[in-house]
Amino acid sequence: MPGTRTKLVMDNRPIGRVLMACMILGFASLVATGVAAAWLTGRNQEHTRWVNHTYEVELAIANASIAIEQGETPRRGYLITRAPAYLETYRANRARQPEILAKVSRLTADNPRQRANYAMLVALVGNLQRQRDLTIGLVQQGRGREAIARFFTETAAQRMMKIRAVATRMADEERRLLKIRDAEQTRSVRAFYLVLALAGLILLVVAILSLTTVMRYTRDLTRSRDSLNTLNETLEAQVVERTADLSLANDEIQRFAYIVSHDLRSPLVNVMGFTAELAATIAPLEDLLERAEATAPEIVSEDARLAVREDLPEAVSFIRTSTQKMDRLINAILKLSREGRRVITPERLDIAELVGTIRASMQHIIDDRGATVSVEGSIPGIVSDRVAIEQILSNLIENATKYLQPGRSGVITVSGHEARGRVHLAVADNGRGIDPRDHSRVFDLFRRSGAQDQPGEGIGLAHVRALAYRLGGTIDLASELGKGATFRLNLPKILNTQDPKA
């Protein structure tokens, strides 16, 4: 038998697991990137804040320096001109100074070094201020000369220089801090880019991995689909091939059954024929015996009398009943084989109607045996051979009425349903049931089950099964002793007419 069996190789590699791992890794790197970006943004803000702070401090220091420097100009103007306008400017400037210095103090509160610087600055400014106030006071008291003399001797210029140096130191300190912060910022950015590059790399790897996995999977799928297609395409041919093989085998069996039964018949004709001839000789012998008994009883032996009157008729009778039985059996085989050769003509059938016809045709038997036959529910339509279905159902129904449980009136129901292109018919009874051991045996030719109290040769169910097979169906049986039996027939909804014999 040709027809290579194409095997579908399903790839069992854990493709799902690989993809899942890839996805998790991908998402993890994305999350890491996001976290890094958020962190960097935070760092950036922090840095910006510090940069601003630095500039603020610088500005505050510069302001302070300027204010201090500016304090000198109205003082000198006042010392020289004693114009009250200068005094006023001076006072205004002086009034502003604590506030400006306080700002520097506030801004540099966190830095001990700046604190020290600031303390120095405050001390210097305080000294300066005292000297300035002193000179201004002298001028106000009208001691102008003394004030100017004082101005010459005082160390204001040096103090100013010192103040400038301190201010520059403070600004430098802030710049130093800014530089450190800049370096930190650069490091952060570098770290961020590192994280970004790493995540990008991971994503790339994950993408390549996922892509190859998916592609491999797709390729496998395509291959499977292709082989499936090929299988599908060749399936029909294979089915046709197998069907041809099967029907060939079936034909062979049919022919065998036919030849055997036929050739068995031939000698049987002789046996029966000559038995009849033999039986025909009994009459003249009997005649002769009677005449001998009447005319010369002494020549009639007891043996001769027994032979003619008992042995001969008995032998003939046994031969006859045996040959008749053999004839029936051979005829059964012939009938089966002929049934197998009968042309099947599928047509649309209404099973319920068919059951009705069968019931009507065997109504007297059904009534005699005290049974009822009914159709339960609706039975789906079927396209099959009318004669075969009729024979199957009538055999099953006849059997059901035949093997009733004593003392229980027979209730026989025929039901059916459809499933996946097949029609399942069931003939159920409440009869005496069949021993589960005999369930397959009862379908064999000449085999029967249970008490042999009913006439029959064990042909009916064999015939039913042969017919069911012929219609592309199967038959089986569910039963328990004493609890009735259900014969289940499984037939194609539409009988395939491409059957080579049909």
């Binding site: 018949r265 031939s266 000698p267 004709v269 029966m272 024929g273 000559f274 009849a276 001839e277």
Partner: protein, 147 residues
């Protein structure tokens, strides 16, 4: 009936028992024509066509033919007898066999068999059938053989 006395019956039947039963019952029907019995196809064909006293060379005949023969099928013999140009093509052939297969019956009639009879297994029926065949044989007209 005198006219039919000359018609010889050729029985080709491999089963001695069947042959005997057939002969007995034909005789019981009152047929007294000569019956030549052959158990195989080869000798039967030889007699039919070549024997000096055979029907091809010597007078009309009626053939009783069984289909199941040991050396050839009865239909082969039928083909030979009914073949175009055969001297015996008008000779009546009664196929008397156990086969009751429809196809086989059709085939035999297609090949030119004149009567097809299935041997009943039941002897009563068998005997009756043969006796009726005997009656039938006693009334049918058999054509002369044409050289």
């Amino acid at each position: 009936m005198t006219e039919h006395q000359t018609v010889g019956i050729v029985m080709i039947e491999d089963d001695e028992g069947h042959a005997r039963l057939i002969e007995k019952n034909i005789r019981r029907a009152g047929i007294s024509n000569g019956i030549r019995h052959f158990t195989d196809g080869t000798t039967a064909l030889d007699f039919l066509f070549n024997a000096p006293e055979g029907p091809a060379l010597n007078g009309p005949a009626l053939i009783l033919l069984d289909l199941n023969l040991p050396d050839m099928s009865g239909t082969d013999i039928l083909v030979r007898i009914k073949a175009e140009g055969s001297p015996l093509k008008r000779t009546p052939v009664v196929v008397l066999t156990t086969t009751d297969d429809k196809v086989e019956i059709q085939r035999c009639y297609d090949l030119g068999c004149n009567v097809y009879i299935t041997k009943p297994v039941n002897y009563e029926s068998f005997a009756t059938a043969i006796r009726q065949l005997g009656l039938f044989l006693s009334v049918i007209q058999v054509p002369e053989i044409e050289g």
